[in-house]
Symmetry: D2
Subunit: 376 residues, 4 copies
């Protein structure tokens, strides 16, 4: 693969690289790691890339790689830049025949997202949006259980994503680049925490339940003085099957690390999953509680094929991320070989990306509205 963005000091670039190579199916062969050519070169060197595969910018990378032979050139582009630099390289890659893995969100706004979605459709290329959290084995298990009727018809969904790292005006201290671009409308888009983490919650809720949110009612807040984008969101949800829900995300939930979690209640049981202890899925009924654990007992095929080690050897964030890459690689290779892939090896696509952008739009619209319900 070829990487756009992801210098050594960028958090998410290293995550993508580790996730990509974990299963020995993907190799980093080239990159345009920074708009600063020096930093890009430095990164390429540290990653043991040959100098001629470290490019000045993504345009150069895509166009030069295209000229290489099929066996030599990168098979797909991986985009790990800040949000406002997702659209450009994605578009160019697709236009030049490269599959794309792109960090979330897909683009800066819905128009761009629709354009990308149309381009994926028209080119027939593969696009993976790294909604990491659906890569966990116990998320797969939850989805499989619900699909198989293990808790009956879904009635109620509570999904939360609290963090506390932006509890104060961190972005004004000049020391936290993450905080700076994530709270900057020009680089992050129309929303802050909602786009950054709220869409993970939305995606998780729909993925696990197999339902669609149809209406919502939102209360967005900027709690920290001087901040330009929302750092807290409370949203009531209604789903297409009549189920109801609550979504809340926050970056001012002081003391919370990264506590994405979901609870789903159906007619005959409930499920609970917490990202910070990802190898346990709690299955409750009025007759008792069962801990469903990675690697233990009779699990769905979906859970099994996304697990690498025996029970009790904790798998975490990297392994969930790597599941996305592994599945994407299987699809890329199947394309090359003209074969197909079992649908259990799934990954989030441009459709999830577009849906996320529309979710942001709907929440913002609802927040401005005096009416209770906004369609989604």
């Amino acid at each position: 693969m070829g990487m756009v963005g992801g210098t050594l000091d960028a958090f998410i670039g290293g995550v993508h690289r580790r996730a990509a190579i974990m299963d020995g199916e993907i190799e980093l062969v080239c990159g345009a790691f920074s708009s600063n050519p020096e930093k890009s070169k430095e990164t390429g060197k540290a990653l043991y890339l040959p100098e001629n595969r470290v490019y000045a910018d993504y345009e150069e990378m895509i166009l030069k790689e295209k000229e290489l032979s099929e066996g030599d050139r990168m098979d797909f582009v991986c985009i790990v830049t800040p949000n406002f630099v997702h659209y450009g390289p994605t578009k160019l890659a697709l236009q030049n025949g490269f599959h794309v893995v792109c960090d979330k969100p897909i683009t800066l706004n819905t128009e761009e997202a629709e354009e990308i979605a149309a381009l994926v459709e028209s080119t027939g290329l593969l696009f993976c949006l790294t909604h990491t959290y659906t890569g966990y084995p116990m998320v797969k298990e939850a989805r499989a259980m619900i699909a198989n009727g293990a808790i009956g018809k879904v009635r109620k969904v509570i999904v939360e994503y609290p963090q506390g790292w932006l509890s104060s005006f961190v972005e004004g201290q000049g020391t936290n680049k993450q905080a700076e671009w994530r709270t900057d409308p020009a680089r992050s888009g129309a929303s802050g925490g909602l786009g950054d983490i709220g869409t993970h919650a939305e995606n998780l809720a729909e993925y696990v339940t197999g339902l669609h949110i149809t209406q919502l009612c939102a209360d967005l807040t900027i709690f920290v003085e001087g901040r330009l984008l929302d750092d807290d969101a409370h949203v009531l949800l209604r789903f297409n099957n009549g189920a109801k829900g609550i979504l809340q995300n926050s970056q001012i939930a002081n003391g919370e690390e990264n506590d994405l979690n979901i609870r789903v209640y159906g007619e005959t049981g409930g499920l609970e999953w917490n990202q910070m202890e990802p190898n346990t899925l709690i299955h409750k009924t009025n007759q008792g509680t069962r801990l469903v654990r990675t690697g233990v007992g009779n699990l769905s095929q979906a859970a099994q094929v996304h697990t690498r080690v025996p029970a009790g050897h904790p798998e975490g964030y990297f392994e969930a991320f790597a599941n996305l890459y592994r599945n994407f690689a299987l699809h890329v290779r199947a394309r090359m070989e003209g074969t197909t892939v079992d649908p259990v090896y799934d990954f989030p696509t441009e459709k999830d990306g577009l849906r996320g952008m529309k979710f942001i739009d709907a929440v913002i619209a609802s927040n401005k509205s005096d009416l209770k319900w906004t369609d989604f």
Copy 2:
């Protein structure tokens, strides 16, 4: 004390009796336990009461006890009947000079509640509404910590009260009296789960934070076919200091037992408390997490005086309940002796009861409204 309601097979009557006598300050001296005189007598006998102190109905009890000498007669009335029989005995007791302990809710509707509140005011008598959950030591600690600025100005409150016991049409099976009257508008009032448990959540949120809810936006649901009252509530909250919140309660959260819980986030930290493991209060900041435990370390006076045993000896529901009774007894005795009581020995009053009734009204109004926000 004299008890109205609470036959042997009624759950809450036994709880009140155990809670009342726990600290040796209160004695059950008489009762009108049932509208069925036989059942009342039977209960009185099982409780070792003299026959002449077991009355046919609450009117008889209140009027006959009034005639006894001060040393002999009951000092207060305890009312543990279904909701629609709260107003009558409370009013008569107050009118005849008896203090009152009443199970929640205070009355069937707001008009009655206002009348009772006015009567308490005019008679100068004491009224305790048994919002049990604020009796836990770690709830006292949370309140004291927030009052002392331990987490800074409050920004965000999440309070939940999920249960699962009404996931199916239990009230139609003819075997569960609890389920029957709690889902019957005539006996329970205008709301079901909201009035039964949602008001506990509202009360807990306001008690712990010291704030008032000023606006809300509600989505009430009846999930179970045939049911007449709400069994699920999702409510967005706004507080008088600018804080925001979410309240949700449910009786169809399949597999949940009695999971009242609250999380409060302030500018400098967060607190979390779960009723099902009540002796732990979790204090989080971005620098780390601390478990505040009943009986351990430097706790507030409020936590200390509501704890009976050393650390690690779990106290539970009865002890929380007993804290209300003990505090009420201290106030009753202070009245008799013309002394005062340290405010740390607090208990919920008719004001909490009236506020709860208005909360129910506001949520129901919001639920019917197309507008997002309803004042409270």
Copy 3:
């Protein structure tokens, strides 16, 4: 009942009183609360006892109460003095026809315990030793499950009782009476922590498994300088069915509150219970983990009859203690009425007390021995 010991400032006296009265079956009618007549009177007054039922010492109490009519006099004696004052009042009570409830340990040494056991046998009176922890519903459930083969033949038992409150030389500071007498050989007997809490662990292991320890290998330690009795014990165990185990208790496990816990592994499953979260019993098999919870699902009769409230309303230490008293009261009344009691309403007896004393002897002998195994 009549109480020996238990002034207002004594921890365990208040626990016994609350536990005894919880279910309305037992009333405190007299007491000899202290060797100091002033303190005894003061306590009696605070407990609303008539002056003539507050006695100067236990001899007076037992002899005077004996002279009262059957309906008036106490039905049994409750002994809550420090260890060295268990033997005397127990013996006198039994000799005068009173049943006895006695705090643990039964006596100061094995000779006394054997004498008491013989006296119980010869008088046919009832004796209850308050090994509180076997009163918890989930301990009852564990015992029932094992008896019913839920985990197969037991192979391995780990039982622990760590506390941290004696991590420093507390008894030398002149401010902690508990610490003083519990570390004083004259008042506590030949062992410290082992006798105080280790015997609870031993009793729990044998009660839950239905097995007997047959051999042990002990390493006792006094960690705190100046202390006269053991504050830590590590013991290997062998059971009569071939199972093996480990028992450890400590009062220098800094930061531990009162963490009695047990794990039992059989051929087909395992069980785990922790006193500090007593309403959960963890049932593990290689196929998965199940949380068995007080009040939830199909529990044994033994668990059900020792539970007072619905699921999710936590019961704790007082309720476990009260289960012992309630069961004892059922047996006392059955004696009066010439009826029998279902064996599910059990309580620890002088046999458990004698076994505990012998356990202490065996551990001390093993600790002194160079040989690995000491018979028990």
Copy 4:
């Protein structure tokens, strides 16, 4: 690196490969994956190795690679064969100038281990034994805290490693190769569970506390009929500073997955860590409990440099494993470059391996002895 053992279906080979490549510092360049040349080739192909770097056996690999130029040949050998094939390739690799990473245990017996240790010493080469569990950030933190006096002088250590997967005669079913060789004295050595997992516990206890075990008293058991090696171990410990401890490991603890855990109590506090939730270290004192979390607050340098992602993104088994490889790689490179490495980048060596073998010897000797204590 070049790998000995580790076909596609072998659990631990894949773990080593993923761990080795995680940080982009190590590349698999050759291998002798199986004694079966076909399987070896197949594995090499699946791993995208050139055919000429897939060898028939380890002798061929080591000797042929030695002939390659320094830039081309492997830098070290990684040995992931069953226990009885550790000694041979390790010895040959060292004799031919290659550093070695070897799965645990170092050899089949102490004599071999001593020979290897001497060879490491005499050649000056690097040897890493993959005691994975000491690679976790919170284990590093525990060690740093104890070294810095955070809990005072250590008094008591409880270390446990229960598993349940060998609760029945799995090795006799012909379907579980892991079970077969791990219970076979010819391939595993003189002990079963003790050597397999008990030595992890021993290593963890000594690593975290910085102490040495000096005496022990063991009770080893074979619970499953037909099994040839121990499947359960109970061991009393004494340490060089006067501390005491308990070590227990089991493979018949039905329902346990892989629950390595340790508790250390010092004069002023205690620490607890559980491998199955590895990102939390519990720090207890008599004043309260604190959760020390990966990535949160002021952690030791040791914890920080072994963490890859921000707080709340769980790291697990692979990442702990990868920390060993990353540190080893830093040392290998420093050797090449003539530089030194900060001691915080540590890894287990042949010394740990030799100590583990001697621990096995001592436990077996103690188990056979009638005397309580055996020196270690």
